[in-house]
Structures are given as C-alpha cells and as structure tokens.
C-alpha cells in the first residue's frame, strides 16, 4: 500500500470576522485577521491518497488526473480570489484555514469518483499551510 502526496499552492485573500460576534469580540478573537479590508496568504495544500500500485502503470495515483481534479475543484475556483466574497461556502462560514480545509476536502470528495472511478485510490487527507508556520490537517473521513 502506498500514500502518494502531491503539493499545490494558491494565493487568496480572506477576512476572519463573524457576524455573530461584536466588533470588539471579533478584534479580540481574530486580531489583525479581522481588519475590515482583509488580507491574503500563499496557501500550500498537500493532498494525500492511499492505494496499491496499479499492475499496468506501477503507480498508485496518476498525478495528471489528480492535478486535473485539483485544478477544476480547488485551484481554479480559489486561486487569486477573495474567499469571503467569491466563494459561496464562505458567505456564512468564517474562512479560517480549518474551514478552508474542510471546503477543499469536500470539493475533492465531490469530484473524486468522476476522476477515479475504481475502488482505489482513496483520498486520505489534506494538509494546508496557511503560512509556513500555521498548518492544518484534515482527514477525508472526518467530514461528510
């Protein structure tokens, strides 16, 4: 069994601000991340899949297929976007990297079987680096 991990990156802006909190509470909870005009990050995303090596190709995952899925589901819709304003999932949900990770995982799961119709490979987890020092990991089986 193999775990194949592919790294991607995209740049996006966001603002951490909850309409359910007061102005002061937002500043206390989110600090600079709540400043009104937002700010951005170079996000790095690692996508890990599990599977046995295919007998014909000797590979567990075809990276070109994963790249296509990732481009369609994640990079094209998120890269160089304002997450709060341009990604519907974040109209109501604060685009923390926890929630961004959940959204990316959902998007990959949604498109997975069209690109990988067989039993393998399976999406195992994703890991987001919001900055080189802030890292978030989400297992695919943690979310519906």
């Amino acid at each position: 069994m193999f775990r194949v991990t592919r790294r991607y990156q995209f740049a996006a802006s966001h603002r951490l601000y909850s309409p359910r909190l007061s102005e002061e509470e937002n500043l206390r909870v989110y600090g600079k991340c709540a400043y009104p005009y937002g700010h951005g990050h170079n996000y790095r995303v690692e996508v890990s899949s599990l599977g046995p090596a295919d007998a014909r190709s000797g590979r567990a995952v075809d990276p070109a297929l994963l790249d296509r899925l990732m481009a369609e589901q994640v990079l094209h819709p998120l890269d160089h976007r304002n997450l709060n304003l341009e990604v519907p999932a974040f109209r109501e949900v604060v685009p923390t990297s926890e929630n961004l990770g959940i959204e990316i995982c959902r998007r990959l799961k949604r498109g997975w079987s069209a690109v990988f119709p067989g039993e393998w490979p399976k999406l195992e987890k994703i890991r987001i680096e919001e900055t080189p020092r802030n890292i978030f990991e989400i297992r695919a089986d943690e979310i519906e």
């Binding site: 069994m1 194949v4 991990t5 790294r7 599990l50 090596a53 190709s57 000797g58 567990a60 075809d62």
Partner: protein
C-alpha cells in the same frame, strides 16, 4: 519513537510498460514515457521505530543508518539510469511507488538484523510529489 535520516540521489528513468502500445504509454505516463529518459533529484527519508537504548540513549546510531543508506541505496542508485543499470528496474517500471518499495526491500532485512523496525520509506520524486511505502 521514530528517527529519520534523509539522503539524496540523482537518477534518470523512463516510465513505460513494454506490454502496452506507445499511445497507451503516452496516455498513462505523459512526458515520463519519453524513451530517452529524464531525471530527478530524489530525496529519501527513512524512518526507524524503536526505544532509546538505556546506555547510549539512541534508537539507532544515525551514523550507522547513514552508512547503511549510502551502501544499500545511494551507491547503487546515484547517477544511474535506473531502467538500464539498476535491477529490478530492467523489468519493473521505476515509478516512485516501485522505487520506494525496492528501497524498503533493500533496507528492511538489514534493519531487522539490527533488531530495529523500518517504519517508513518516503521518497520525493520532486518537492511537490512524494510517495510513502506502507508495507504490503
């Protein structure tokens, strides 16, 4: 406890299955099917699991692991055309998956002989694509 040693080697390879037509190889492997080969700076991380020895305080002397990796992996792999010069890749496609498994098979008996458990072989084909071999 898990300890990890990292080494690098550079090698060339071709990914194509001789049983398949050219077009099918092209579809499966893309540019990696170019019969003349291409190369990578592979980065290998080998992790060994164990408890620190009560006297030395070490799971395994990393110098010993380094020597093992140099002898068993870097020496045969480095600056070679894997398909032509490094068995079993004369008949096994040298994908990152198959290389990781071959590395596991080369190292595991030695580590078992030292009474240590090989925990993980992680092979970076590029900084953006890596494979973990998790055993059969």
């Amino acid at each position: 406890m898990i300890i990890t040693r990292k080494v690098e080697f550079s090698a060339s390879h071709v990914c194509r299955n001789p049983a398949l037509a050219d077009e099918e190889n092209q579809r499966l492997f893309g540019m990696a099917a170019n019969p003349h080969g291409h190369g990578h700076n592979y980065v290998l991380e080998v992790s060994v699991e164990g408890q620190p020895h009560p006297v030395t305080g070490m799971v395994l002397d990393l110098k010993e692991l380094k020597d093992l990796l140099n002898r068993e992996i870097v020496e045969p792999y480095d600056h070679r055309f894997l398909n032509r010069e490094v068995p079993p890749f004369d008949h096994v496609i040298p994908t990152a998956e198959n290389i990781a498994r071959d590395i596991w098979q080369r190292l595991e008996p030695h580590l078992r002989g030292l009474g240590r458990r090989l925990q993980l072989v992680r092979l970076y084909e590029t900084p953006d694509l890596y494979v973990d071999y998790l055993g059969e």
